[in-house]
Symmetry: C2
Subunit: 374 residues, 2 copies
Amino acid sequence: MTITSNTVRSRTDLCTAIENELGGLIGKRASAATAYGPDFARLWALAGQNVLGGKFVRPLLLMETYDALNHTRQENRPAESRHRETAISIAAAIELLHYAFLLHDDVIDGDLVRRGHANLIGSLLSEAGETARETTGADSTHAGSFLHWAQTGGILMGDMLLAATHQSFARADLPHDLRLRLLDLLEHTINETVAGEQLDVGLGDGVIAPDLQTILVMCGYKTATYTFELPLRAAATLAGADFAVENALATAGRHLGLAFQLQDDLLSTFGDPRRHGKDPFSDLREGKETAIIAHARTTVAWVDIEPFFGRPELSVGDGEHVRRHLSDCGAEAFVQGLIEEQMQAFNNQLTSTIPASVRNVLLDLAGQLEGRQS
Amino acid sequence: MTITSNTVRSRTDLCTAIENELGGLIGKRASAATAYGPDFARLWALAGQNVLGGKFVRPLLLMETYDALNHTRQENRPAESRHRETAISIAAAIELLHYAFLLHDDVIDGDLVRRGHANLIGSLLSEAGETARETTGADSTHAGSFLHWAQTGGILMGDMLLAATHQSFARADLPHDLRLRLLDLLEHTINETVAGEQLDVGLGDGVIAPDLQTILVMCGYKTATYTFELPLRAAATLAGADFAVENALATAGRHLGLAFQLQDDLLSTFGDPRRHGKDPFSDLREGKETAIIAHARTTVAWVDIEPFFGRPELSVGDGEHVRRHLSDCGAEAFVQGLIEEQMQAFNNQLTSTIPASVRNVLLDLAGQLEGRQS
């Protein structure tokens, strides 16, 4: 006998609904794209594969929050509302926005791989090389040109996904004032995310000083805003929740988002690479300015760490040496403390302002933080 | 005594109205940007300087066409309509779109200069260098990082301008069905422009074969669609023109746009650099696949041209040698013939379907093609 809880069943239903909506948004564009030739159509085909293979973290947060808010209002009646279909289309649009940000981030970072697989840019690069070998027998002499071609594809596909996100918001079947509130939210989100990306790049390029405060602001802007605050505020707006509820949700979401981001940094440096599947020293090799590093800089251990920080050729032995220093100097514990502070602030928001059913959605999400390995 | 014709006076008024609208759109965002720190605010300040220093070709085309269409409908009553303010906001949004495309194009091409001045990326690059020299005394050791920082600024500012364009379309004070038609038009325009940019880069990177048909399609998609078809169709939609009028305008605009683009290529290669102010051999040095080159490839002269084509270090003497060959082999005359064909097709559209007052707007624009030196 298989026991299927309501939560699991409803999450599967939600995933299907989100997947169908995304499939429609992308499928329609992929069909239209064929009129512009195979290379243009290939962009949409690759984007479709990548987007539809995602975990839908943001759309699920939006829909579960939306359904919980409606359930509260309607008590024991089924969780339905006249804006539910629109909520699904906004949830799907947020996934497109996420993917647009990822693509431009990958172009900016020069990344060709994401989670162990070729990203869109990596796929375009290898396909250009294969085609050249088949048609002309050429080998890697055009490697620079092919990389340029592939990264251009990343910029352009990101632009089209950003456009598609806006199209969904602009066409939302809602009273105009509600649509305007969602458009305000989208604009606010894009501004903060772009500001966060710029801070991140400025820190990496040595244009912005790497102090702890800047790094924490960057983490919040770059990821927490669009991953947590955007879906929560959109859900509240669509469900007609009070502004007090929306604000409490947004604040809780920002704290949770920052906790996730700080934990990402801890996992990258101190986690088990067999679990998270990434190069365990990539942050150190890249010279990524994290809260861990910001704290280490304030300790005497920094003189032993600095010579190895940002060295692409860092050996495993040197990496382990740096990691030990980062732990011994208290940087690991310091960031664990920051995460606890954020979780405390998150819990403080879960007062009666936020209905119990919605608190459960957030607590469920927060539960994923514990015991997370990747 | 100064004689001010109605045309000149109304164009000045239009420029002022467009400038005010753009100033408002950018000023509001530049103010909000200061909350995210000086580097983020700097992006908006630079974008504002660049956008407001433009010639407003596309917004003027939209507004002059819109006013002419209304004038026709309303005969001798003043050219007014309840959608005129919205038309100005859409016209301004189209200028933001133009600038978003330019920025991402500059990132893709690695350009730091446009029309003899540092573009946004060039400004960010030199400012990062200056700040580094002032604060640390460092010189060019971080040149690679600073270029990365500056180009990231170009990508991110392009994203924000693309978002701002959509915000203006989405918020247009219009009946929802009319707003949806403009949103369709925006989506169509972005698709064609992106497809054109991708073709252009594919031609340059040797991923797409440089045949004449592909090059002509690329020119139409990359520039003519958003520069001519978009403003003309938007004007027709906003003025409530018949679909037959809108289509005739769009077709005329595409032919005119292609003629302008082909003339750009002729001027770059055969024009007087004292007039157009550009490096007279930049297209040859970059190996730009133009209609001129596509024709030359089909002639016996190509064996004498090919060794010099796409060589960054091309000398003035060699450049002049190539230019002579391009002229002697008939490529110059061939492209002049293509321009004449486009102008013939343009003139064929100026039938009674398009009202006389609107024909004059288009003929005025076409007149700029003759005797153009830059």
